[in-house]
Amino acid sequence: MESIDVLMLCPMISYLEQELDRRFNVLKLWTAPEKSQFIKDHSATIRAIAGDGGHGADAEMIEALPRLEIVSSFSVGVDKIDLEKCREKGIRVTYTPDVLTDEVADLAIGLIMAVLRRLCESDRYVRSGKWKKGDFKLTTKFTGKTVGIIGLGRIGMAIAKRAEAFNCPICYYSRTEKPDTKYKYYPSVLELASNCEILVVACSLTAETRHIVNREVMNALGPKGVLINIGRGPHIDEPELVSALVEGRLGGAGLDVYEHEPEVPEELFGLENVVLLPHVGTATVETRKAMADLVVGNLEAHFSNKPLLTPLV
């Protein structure tokens, strides 16, 4: 298989790079001085792409690679891959579901708690020496708060299960109501936001879900409401989010993703009711390795004519 050309779109954990290097001829796109030229130069031989949540194959790239057979993504989010084009051309697409579900759900709860109990702020308080001058303020209890989840897929369900252990009533919005859950369904995000205290974005990013959390939704969530985003930055209208937080129309936010990563609106840096993380939803040693194994495993399976491990297309 060493003769098979795999186009790697961006740097990823070294374990993954090593494992790909051992099996394939890896072409590292980010090292090229001129990317489109690089793709042209290798277009006759590239048979696979390895990308991640932030780097996928759009229509242009797919058209430029006539021998492309498979796109293997180091992510569960595939909004950067033109899935329609792949289907049209019979190109397989694999991703990394399930192995990261728990990790992302854990982080959602971690974000909720950090915002409600002001963990980051109180840690700063201690480190700056302020504790010697006086006690910190009261914060808000998590147990028993109503949690609203946008998107009750694998990750949404895992978040619900954890929140239930804190006696939180759960409600949700999904494209369609799920018949076999006991959680309360709302047919719109606006109604969901009006009826919960903590709103978590856990759906996939599509044309329909872009800016699914807009000004109206944030106003409905309200000055005591907390918004958590572990989905994709574009799920939330970011400029509206900033003004809602600055003006106090929204009580707080825990964000792992942003519209233009790694850029984060600077107005948020001064706010104490916000927790800002650098897209670390899956960022543990254990989970990144499991994801990498799936990327490699899927490519190996494809090129040995075996069934794909985790195909999406």
Partner: protein
């Protein structure tokens, strides 16, 4: 001219509010409806008062008790009662109550929050983003998975049980150490903290501070916990040998720690300020309005029960 109001007798029982000058607790308004209050040991009422409400960590010593010859009840407003001379109270036949379950959920929430913060580097990563480093440095160092971790709970009381219930939902397994094995509990029991540490990835300290539990987390336990270990302390600072813990953290001999309490609050070993593998919190696991609401209920219930000769709601029990 006397009115009818002035002729109505005050049947409210008398309660001494025992507090440090600087320490306030938002309870008094509710208590006044049920009880007559005073707050000085020098008052003549000290000789007849039968119940004392202890605000925060105000010490109740043998000397205090000497000045209250009729005292039969000490109502604490915290889960921990290490500031009360329990042996003296027992000797004099004085019952003691604590905050019962009022704080348990909040403290359990907080223990889980600290653990998630340590493993997933939440506070450290937030600092990273706010410093503007993300665009420059790209990735942030990886954290560690919570699911599958073996949680060792030191003290499976009301708080410890709530912690266990929450962490099971994250896919963790739970074992515990307590003074005595609890027959109705299914989690594996270890008779001492060393053995618990050997079989755990995380130790969560939720027990009361007594002579026996002083420095219960010591060098031996930290070594047994191992290099992948995490310590979470929501009990009392003195449950942990702080000097040893600092060494372990500085040398990287354990993965990290989440600490809400310290041996000499509000002073904190300055070596900790430079570390990213520790989350520091100014003793606020209980500080929510909901806690104080629940605390009010417990305090009033205990006092009412006492004055009507009914069983107390939350008599202090060692775990």
């Amino acid at each position: 001219m006397a009115t009818e109001d002035n002729e109505v007798e005050d049947h409210r029982p008398l309660v001494l509010i025992h507090h440090l000058p600087s320490f306030k607790l938002p309870l008094q308004d509710r208590l006044i409806t049920h009880f007559r209050l005073f707050d000085s040991l020098a008052s003549p009422e000290a000789s007849s008062v039968r119940a004392l409400m202890c605000v925060g960590p105000t010490p109740v010593t043998a000397d205090t008790l000497d000045r209250l010859p009729s005292l039969r009840l000490v109502v604490g407003s915290s889960a921990g009662l290490d500031h009360v001379d329990l042996a003296e109270c027992h000797r004099r036949g004085i019952a003691v109550t604590n905050s019962g379950d009022a704080y348990s959920e909040n403290v359990a929430d907080y223990a889980v929050a600290l653990l998630l913060d340590v493993l997933r580097r939440v506070s450290a990563a937030d600092r990273f983003v706010r410093s503007g480093l993300w665009p420059q440095m790209g990735e942030y160092p990886l954290g560690r998975k919570l699911g599958g971790k073996r949680i060792g709970i030191v003290g499976l009381g009301s708080i410890g049980s709530e912690v266990a219930k929450r962490l099971v939902a994250f896919g963790c397994t739970v074992a515990y150490n307590s003074r005595n094995k609890k027959p109705s509990v299914l989690y594996p029991y270890y008779a001492n903290v060393h053995d618990l540490a050997v079989n755990s990835d995380v130790l969560i300290v939720c027990c009361a501070l007594t002579n026996e539990t002083y420095h219960i987390i010591n060098k031996d336990v930290l070594t047994a916990l191992g290099k992948e270990g995490v310590i979470i302390n929501v009990g009392r600072g003195a449950l942990v040998d702080e000097k040893e813990l600092v060494q372990f953290l500085v040398q990287g001999e354990i993965v990290g720690a989440g600490l809400d309490v310290f041996e000499n609050e509000p002073n904190i070993p300055k070596e900790l300020f430079a570390l990213d593998n520790v989350v520091l919190s100014p003793h606020l696991a209980v500080l929510t309005p909901e806690s104080f609401e629940a605390l009010n209920e417990v305090i009033i219930a205990n006092l009412k029960a006492f004055f009507s000769n009914k069983p107390l709601l939350s008599p202090f029990q060692q775990e």
